[in-house]
């Protein structure tokens, strides 16, 4: 009873009638949006190009704009990763968010300092990876999927030297580690690197599980899933950096099963 009275006088639970307070806002939003949509549709026509011709491939061929972040990932990963595995993991990861975020704070209001990790991670994935790669794909990729500045004309004859090199060959050349030239050794080395990359999560767990309240609250299963998803997301900028700095093409190649990462 006391609880109920307290709740009734708590400003956070202050209630207003849906009619007219909410219905009015919804109605205005709808009318303004429809008006905007109508003016937009009067001013700008939906695109219609030449009739479909399977024999004439346009250059560049672009997916719809909302998939251009994924198409942009093709620069750094093979299609099985960029087009299938990573998009699936995005969906799975999004689904899992409520079950791996055990922080009870920030439920129903805007806050940054009460859930820094969650917000920074989401903003990084959404704004930096998804949205900005989409912008690059829409505006800065021209013929041959080559990079063009915002005002640079799209020269379809632009030639970009293909200097990308697999990691094992790069190390063999630059550090003289000749045993890496062997494809099998290269594969083992690349596999070792990938295992080591994901093992950092285990090391972090071992180092912090005694002292970190958050890790104890997460538990080993939730932590494992979170770390896997986080490191997989971070693999994209890691691969981008390796490409931009050392022209690395693949970390690991298993030719027998047609798998390259």
């Amino acid at each position: 009873m006391v609880e109920k009275i307290k709740k009734a006088f708590d400003p956070r639970f202050d209630k207003v009638h849906t009619w007219p307070h909410l219905v009015r806002i919804e109605f205005l939003c709808a009318v303004i949006t429809l008006l905007f949509l109508l003016v937009w549709s009067l001013m700008i026509d939906a695109p219609l190009e030449h009739p479909a011709n399977p024999a004439a491939t346009p250059n560049p061929s672009k997916a719809p704009w909302y998939f251009l972040g994924l198409q942009e990932m093709l620069v750094y990963f093979d299609p099985w990763m960029a087009g299938v595995v990573l998009p699936s993991l995005i969906i799975v990861g999004l689904v899992l968010i409520p079950y791996i975020d055990v922080n009870p704070k920030g439920n129903g209001y805007y806050t940054f300092h009460e859930r820094k990790f969650a917000i920074v991670t989401y903003c990084f994935g959404f704004l930096i990876l998804w949205v900005s790669l989409m912008v690059v794909g829409v505006f800065l990729r021209g013929p041959g999927w080559n990079f063009f500045g915002p005002f640079a004309p799209w020269d379809s004859h632009k030639v970009v030297p293909l200097t990308n090199i697999d990691l094992n060959m790069f190390l063999a050349q630059s550090l003289g580690l000749d045993f890496l030239r062997n494809p099998f050794m290269g594969m083992l080395f690349g596999g070792f690197l990938i295992v080591a990359y994901y093992s950092t999560a285990v090391l972090y767990w071992q180092a912090k599980k005694g002292s970190s309240e958050i890790l104890q609250k997460l538990g080993v299963v939730r932590y494992g899933i979170t770390a896997f998803l986080f490191l997989t997301m971070a693999a994209l900028p890691v691969k981008m950096l390796l490409r931009w700095t050392f022209n690395i093409k693949y970390i690991m190649v298993i030719k027998q099963i047609n798998l390259s990462i």
Partner: protein, 273 residues
């Protein structure tokens, strides 16, 4: 003048007190708390809402109205889309000329098509903004975990709706965007003909079926299942048309019913506990 006023009031009273009027409108017009509640509860369209909502939850700076506008854009695409269906045949020979017919001959055809397309793009944008807002306010936290899952499925369906619709004008933009998009399916691990382990899985299936070089080839793999053949052609157009106009909208509608219902059942629009 006064007489006229009285007469008008009499007419109004007669109408408002009539059996027909009362059978349609279940509540009076007087601005009383009871009538405000009834305006919501006795209206089939508005009863999606509770009669009262928490004050903070209706602020635009809290919700950005993003979910509502996503739904509004969906409704616009449904209305304009049904009109487009009257003039459009999903066959490679006809599709493009039907779009031209819509643009140049059908009254209001151009603006109808424009509204369909721009509302669809807006819906994709708005659903991403809605998801961003819901994340920032932590509205996926208990007890709303499952509704977030439904939302993730809905955003996926929104992308698929837009992607399948992209093919229908059957112009260069359409078939090449869909070619680029569906080419990804070639690389599906195990089931795409260029994907990891494709050869091994194909050999396994071939051996089981007693055939040679049949399974997980360009003709029988994840991509050919999606586009109904080896290239984006007339069968793809029909397949995407049915997915776009029937299958995905129905699936999305079912999930939307669930999504909106769960907003209510999970305690209304989220807010500080």
């Amino acid at each position: 003048m006064n007489k006229l006023k009285l007469l008008l009031r009499d007419i109004q009273e007669t109408i408002v007190q009539s059996q027909a009027w009362k059978s349609i409108f279940r509540h009076g017009y007087a601005d009383t708390p009871r009538n405000r509640a009834l305006a919501i509860a006795s209206n089939v369209w508005l009863h999606l809402h509770p009669a009262k909502v928490r004050r903070h939850a209706i602020k635009l700076r809290y919700t950005w109205c993003a979910g509502g506008l996503t739904f509004l854009f969906f409704l616009v695409t449904v209305v304009t889309g049904v009109i487009l269906m009257f003039y459009y045949r999903p066959v490679a020979e006809y599709a493009f000329v039907d779009i031209q017919y819509l643009e140049f001959d059908v009254p209001f055809g151009m603006i109808n098509r424009n509204m369909h397309r721009w509302a669809a793009h807006s819906m994709v944008m708005m659903v991403m903004i809605h998801m961003f807002r819901v994340f920032l306010t932590g509205s996926y936290k208990p007890p709303r975990e499952f509704n977030w899952v439904v939302g993730v499925l809905l955003i996926t369906l929104t992308f698929l709706l837009s992607f399948t619709g992209y093919l229908l004008p059957w112009d260069q933009l359409a078939i090449w965007a869909v070619t680029v998009g569906s080419n990804m399916a070639r690389a599906t691990p195990l089931l795409g003909n260029e994907g990891p382990l494709a050869v091994q899985v194909g050999d396994l299936f071939d051996a089981a079926a007693g055939v040679k070089d049949t399974f997980i080839t360009p003709r029988y793999d994840a991509r050919s299942f999606l586009v109904a053949g080896t290239v984006v052609g007339s069968p793809t157009l029909l397949r995407f048309y049915v997915l776009h106009c029937i299958f995905i909208p129905v699936a999305a509608s079912i999930l939307m019913i669930l999504h909106f219902w769960r907003v209510r059942k999970d305690g209304g629009i989220s807010g500080p506990l």
